[in-house]
Symmetry: C2
Subunit: 213 residues, 2 copies
DNA sequence: CGACATACATAGGGATCACTATGTAAAGTG
DNA sequence: CACTTTACATAGTGATCCCTATGTATGTCG
């Protein structure tokens, strides 16, 4: 019915989607190739034919990851008129869900980082991924500063790296203890990195009520 | 010769040190209990007698982790007279080494975070760990603001979370691509979060020369 | 429509791993 | 110095996992 090429690419897509979900949820080493194949409704034979092995699957996943993330970073920002809305969109896009896979995005981010640090081949890809994220955000910042009429007090590259760092580090803490990292705290930090005045009319962050052990 | 108690605690210490090193270097799942036992010059029998299993070893490791980190966070700060020196000490302490285990500190941080997110029992401990880190830094900030005569423009809890977030996120990027995250970029971000003026007399951050793929 | 190539399925092997049951030397105790 | 307990070592087992060799249905092409 379908051509061989379409069938093949569909299988590849299913395998990568299953691997993304399972690697994020359970981790790379805790996920068996048979589990990935089963979740994709295929067999390990197909997986080995496509990727050559478990590590090949990881590399392919990370390469796809680059394109989809750079797109996702800017996608949630369209249609948001004000600057705070855009900053907030970046944050909620990070912790709520990537729009497709729940909070798998964040888990996969750290999972892949660990492999990137431990494996030079993966590390190259991971470094390139963040270079593109920073460059994309830096470009956006320059556009924003023109659009909203504020001034960048540091090179856009620098501010981009700082904004990404704050978002990553806040998500890191938020996932362990959500109430300790309310949205206002993140937005306030982002604004301070941009050297913007604190947003007027916003109530001060709520008193911390995170449960104490 | 030695008492049984001292012998036992010494074995426990060796096992935990070996597990720390190996879990950080290779990851939890990629590290076998036999490898941990061998690195500690003991056998798996000792390991199971102490921790009941591999997961028990991880829990014990994380619990030790709490105390040692809070201590380490403030330890590198003594004897540094100026504020920039202290901020710089926090950063270099994060990326250079923890003073004992190379850069294992950072790897273990993210490794344990993933387990904390996936396992509720571990998650409780991890959340408590960061609560203590934030509280410790918040207290330090209030002392600093008095000592150095600057004013906190936001609650100390909030600023502490933001500083930690920036440090974590910067370390995250730095480990993938060190030249893309020079020290000055980190210090500038920390200062902006503290609403301090940019440091005078400091050359602007070097042009980025990170290799492009 | 027949021969070939492709895409994937099936079955199984070799290695590794977490864990357990049992043995044993040393420390503790009266 | 007999006896018990502690702290760890030894040896082995079932399960799991990554990978490979081979089989087969379906698309492809002259």
């Amino acid at each position: 019915m379908a051509t061989q090429e379409s069938r093949r690419s569909e299988t590849r897509r299913l395998l990568l989607a299953a691997a993304t979900e399972l690697f994020a949820r359970n981790g790379y080493h805790a996920t068996s190739v048979e589990a990935v194949a089963a979740a994709a409704e295929r067999t390990t034979g197909a997986l080995y034919n496509h990727f050559g092995g478990k590590s090949g699957l990881l590399v392919a996943l990370l390469e796809d990851w680059i394109a989809s993330t750079v797109a996702g970073l800017t996608a949630g920002l369209r249609g948001v008129p004000d600057l705070d809305g855009r900053l907030g969109a970046m944050w909620t896009g990070l912790i709520d869900s990537d729009g497709e896979g729940g909070d798998a995005w964040l888990l996969l981010e750290f999972e892949l980082w660990l492999h990137a640090v431990r494996d030079p081949e993966i590390g190259q890809i991971g470094a390139e991924r963040f270079r593109q994220m920073r460059a994309g955000l830096a470009g956006g910042l320059e556009d924003w500063s023109a659009e909203f009429g504020f001034e960048l007090t540091a090179p856009a590259d620098e501010v981009a790296a700082q904004l990404i760092a704050l978002l990553v580090g806040m998500a890191f803490q938020h996932r362990l203890d959500p109430v300790a990292v309310p949205t206002g705290m993140v937005l306030a930090g982002l604004r301070r990195l941009l050297d913007l005045p604190a947003r007027p009319g916003l109530p001060p962050p709520a008193v911390q009520i995170s449960a104490s052990a």
